[in-house]
């Protein structure tokens, strides 16, 4: 399938290790944030979201951390698996408006 984001920053992680993917968001008024995973040849897939009244939210093997002071979002993936290899990008939204701002993404490569 077609590759997405050939010139994206790449994070290489050993299988079984934890991964941390970072995102700097642009609008201090944004109050809703989403992480997406995009595998080659597929559309972005929702992973986890967080609202600005929280600073941490956990899902299955994933944790999102939000630092509003420095406008920083991170996605932590525990015990990274080969199936986690993909491009990950964040999205921000303000006040339930229709506009979403998407980051350019980070490619995660899981090494066997």
């Amino acid at each position: 399938g077609e590759s997405v984001g050939l010139h994206l920053p790449t994070l290489s992680v050993q299988e079984g290790d934890n991964s941390i993917i970072n995102c700097a968001y642009s609008n201090s008024a944004s109050d809703y944030f989403i992480w997406y995973k995009q595998e080659s040849g597929k559309g972005p897939q929702f992973i986890i979201d967080i609202r600005s009244n929280m600073d941490k939210r956990q899902g299955q093997r994933v944790t999102v951390l939000l630092n509003k002071t420095v406008k920083h979002l991170s996605l932590q993936i525990a015990a990274t698996q080969p199936g986690d290899s993909a491009v990950y990008f964040c999205a921000e939204n303000k006040g339930g408006t229709y506009k979403y701002i998407f980051g350019t993404g980070t490619r995660l490569k899981v090494l066997a």
Binding site: K42, Y98, Y100
Partner: protein
């Protein structure tokens, strides 16, 4: 179906021909977006629908691009007189209220 469905999944067309891309949203999702994703690039916003209305068409690159939505459901993106620079993945996303956008797998358009 349960997810956003886009067709065709792949389209190869000759320069100068018209193409129509289709998006079937998740049932009940009133918001519908079209994005374009080129190799090595992030998501480029094209147009936003709320129901059948398109309050924001600001991302359409030229008057060769148009989109419509009928019955608050299916949307079609039409590109007339295609050019080689139109080659990209066209993604449709739908949402409802303060919820994450859900994407289809896109249509990969190649203009030869």
């Amino acid at each position: 179906g349960a997810g956003v469905s886009q067709s065709p999944s792949n389209k190869v067309t000759e320069k100068g021909k018209d193409v129509e891309l289709r998006c079937d949203p998740i049932s009940g999702h009133t918001a519908l977006y079209w994005y374009r994703q080129s190799l090595g690039q992030g998501l480029e916003f094209l147009i936003y629908f709320q129901g059948n209305s398109a309050p924001d068409k600001s991302g359409l690159p030229s008057d060769r691009f148009s989109a419509e939505r009928t019955g608050g459901s299916v949307s079609t993106l039409t590109i007339q007189r295609t050019q080689q620079e139109d080659s990209a993945v066209y993604l449709c996303a739908t949402g409802q209220g303060a919820s994450p956008l859900h994407f289809g797998n896109g249509t990969r358009l190649t203009v030869t």
